[in-house]
């Protein structure tokens, strides 16, 4: 038992340090990487608690999908367009500090008064083993006792998906029709969106006076010997 407690403290320590890194890092990508580290440590704590399914779900959903999407957005946005994470107006800083303090007080109160603990549920380790493992236990519980919340969540996600499609749709009716047409056209010759190629207008032929050397205005450099090209001395050769 002592080893498990030791492992828990190690994992929890790394998770908390990584979480602090999320807040303290100046580069948002570094913040995201710290968050990944924190999530993995939390998943490892789940494994110590014999909740393998929860651990794997945490890794697949949070680190495998959500943080990847966060990184995706961070890379698409120019670094200078990102909001300033540190500093800012005095009022904002003060409010942020107070909110953080309030949250800390709440969590500390919950832990110190032990009101978080509650009564132990009916799923003891023996009961979980009896139904064949924690996947089976979670499945039974989710699709019997928590049927209504599951369906409500499904409805919410469906609404969010439709909303995203609605927001991403083109503004004009003609554009929408064009998109629909493109969706059902298989074009092997042109990239999407240029199925009706317009001929490119020919450039006017250059006059004699407009012709320029390809090198631009840079004057030609004549090298008399091969050594003049060499900027770095070769291996074992002394610089002249």
């Amino acid at each position: 038992m002592a080893i498990e407690v030791l492992i828990f403290y190690l994992l929890a320590g790394v998770a908390i340090a990584a979480a602090a890194g999320v807040v303290l890092a100046r580069n948002p990508v570094h913040s995201a990487v710290s968050l990944v580290l924190s999530f993995i440590n939390v998943a490892a704590i789940y494994v110590v608690l014999r909740a393998e399914f929860l651990a794997v779900a945490q890794i697949i959903v949070y680190t495998g999908a959500i943080i990847v999407l966060v990184l995706f957005v961070l890379m698409l946005v120019q670094q200078q367009d990102l909001p300033e994470f540190h500093g800012g107006r005095p009022l904002r800083r003060a409010v942020g500090f107070l909110l953080g303090l309030a949250l800390l007080a709440e969590v500390a109160a919950a832990i110190l008064t032990r009101s978080l603990r509650g009564a132990p549920g009916s799923w003891t380790p023996e009961a979980v083993a009896a139904v064949g493992g924690n996947i089976q236990a979670i499945g039974r519980e989710l699709y019997s006792a928590y049927m209504l919340p599951i369906q409500a969540t499904a409805l919410l996600l469906l609404a969010a998906t439709i909303g995203a499609l609605f927001l991403a749709r083109p503004e004009l009716v003609e554009e929408r029709l064009a998109v629909a047409r493109r969706l059902f056209t298989i074009s092997l010759a042109h990239p999407r969106g240029v199925d009706t190629l317009q001929p490119v207008a020919e450039l006017p032929a250059p006059q004699d006076g407009q012709l320029k050397p390809a090198g631009g205005d840079r004057s030609l450099v004549m090298a008399r010997t091969a050594e003049e090209f060499t900027e770095q001395p070769a291996w074992g050769e002394s610089r002249r």
């Binding site: 580069n27 393998e52 399914f53 794997v56 680190t63 495998g64 999908a65 990847v68 990184l71 890379m75």
Partner: protein, 341 residues
């Protein structure tokens, strides 16, 4: 706590990872020779008999090269990202069963490193973590081509991971378990169709899922024809443009280890793993994985690269609906008791 079983597991894992490292080096040799034969060339045949020492020569070359860090790279992430890719790649092989339990020196020894009840999900989770090596490497290089490669790979891996996961749900419905050992045991039964006696391999009861898994696995390992993150004609080399020396080789090796691991998992999930005619054993698993590895090289030598929008269109408009239909049909069949175990 059963300390002896734990130590045996660790030893087995250690041996397995080392075998994987050697195999991966020879996978590069195998691929180069095979692609050469496909293209009517000879391939590496100078270093050792049949060029068998070529991987060692390559390794020595890559290790002795200079390790360059670009001036505007994000230094720490740049240095760590290839290691991340390399370390995560072989972890999936730890849940592959290489046989059932045997009795040796009076104690029961399992021929698998570990049997966790979420083994298949664990494989998917490790795969989804592996993409971080690519994303962070591309970002940290401070190069636009690398960044583009990383962005492509992000979108690609997220899309195809979904297909990969959903294609396996049919198997979960049929076996009622996510453990690879349980899935293997389910496949060792005999399937009786009229007068025919067939092995209960899931390629026979889940053919659509097998095709989907195969396509998604090729995309997940960033191999041709889905090798858009490293499209050398468009992106120079994609996410590893700025990498050189042994850090470059880490990416390279991670790709080959991923191929081997995915082949082992595919052989276990769909082709019955160690199950085969005459005597069951690890050789059947190796032979089946070899078929998949040959398939990988065959694809690379045959097919041109997909265009980016075709790639995403294929995942979201073709493969994902097919996977959902497969789940629905399998569920109905199980409900009506036709395929009940």
């Amino acid at each position: 706590m059963d300390w002896e079983a734990l130590i045996v597991s660790y030893l087995l894992g250690f041996v397995l990872l080392n075998i994987l490292l050697v195999l991966m080096a020879y996978m590069t040799w195998f691929e180069r020779r095979l692609v050469a034969f496909f293209q009517d060339r000879i391939g590496p045949n100078r270093t050792g008999p049949f060029g068998l020492l070529q991987p060692i020569a390559d390794g020595v070359k890559l290790i002795s090269k200079e390790d360059i860090v670009p001036a505007n790279a994000d230094r720490l992430i740049f240095l760590v990202a290839p290691l991340l890719s390399f370390v995560l790649a072989p972890l999936g092989a730890l849940v592959v069963p290489f046989g059932d339990s045997i009795t040796l020196f009076g104690r029961q020894i399992n021929l698998y490193v570990i049997d966790i009840n979420v083994a298949t999900l664990y494989f998917l989770a490790v795969g989804s973590m592996g993409v971080y090596g690519i994303i962070l490497g591309g970002y940290a290089s401070g190069n636009r081509y690398s960044l583009l490669g990383a962005l492509r790979s992000t979108a690609q891996v997220i899309s195809y991971e979904l297909v990969l996961g959903l294609s396996l749900v049919g198997i979960f419905i049929l076996t009622g378990s996510l453990s690879l050992v349980e899935i293997l045991r389910a496949q060792q039964r005999t399937l009786i169709l009229g007068g025919l006696e067939l092995p209960n391999w899931f390629i026979l009861s889940q053919p659509l899922a097998f095709v989907l898994f195969l396509i998604a696995a090729v995309a997940e390992t960033n191999r041709a024809p889905f090798d858009l993150p490293e499209a050398e004609t468009e992106l120079i080399a994609g996410y590893f443009t700025e990498y050189s020396g042994f850090r470059f080789s880490f990416y390279f090796l991670a790709e080959y280890i991923n191929m081997i691991v995915v082949s082992l998992i595919a052989a276990t999930l769909f082709l019955g793993g160690i199950d085969g005619p005459f005597i069951d054993g690890i050789w059947w698993l190796v032979a089946k994985a070899f078929i998949f590895l040959f398939f990988y090289v065959w694809l690379r030598a045959t097919l041109p690269r997909f265009r980016y929008d075709q790639l995403m269109g294929l995942a979201w408009k073709v493969l994902l609906p097919l996977a959902l239909i497969n789940i629905g049909v399998t569920g109905l069949v199980r409900l009506w008791g036709i395929g009940a175990l």
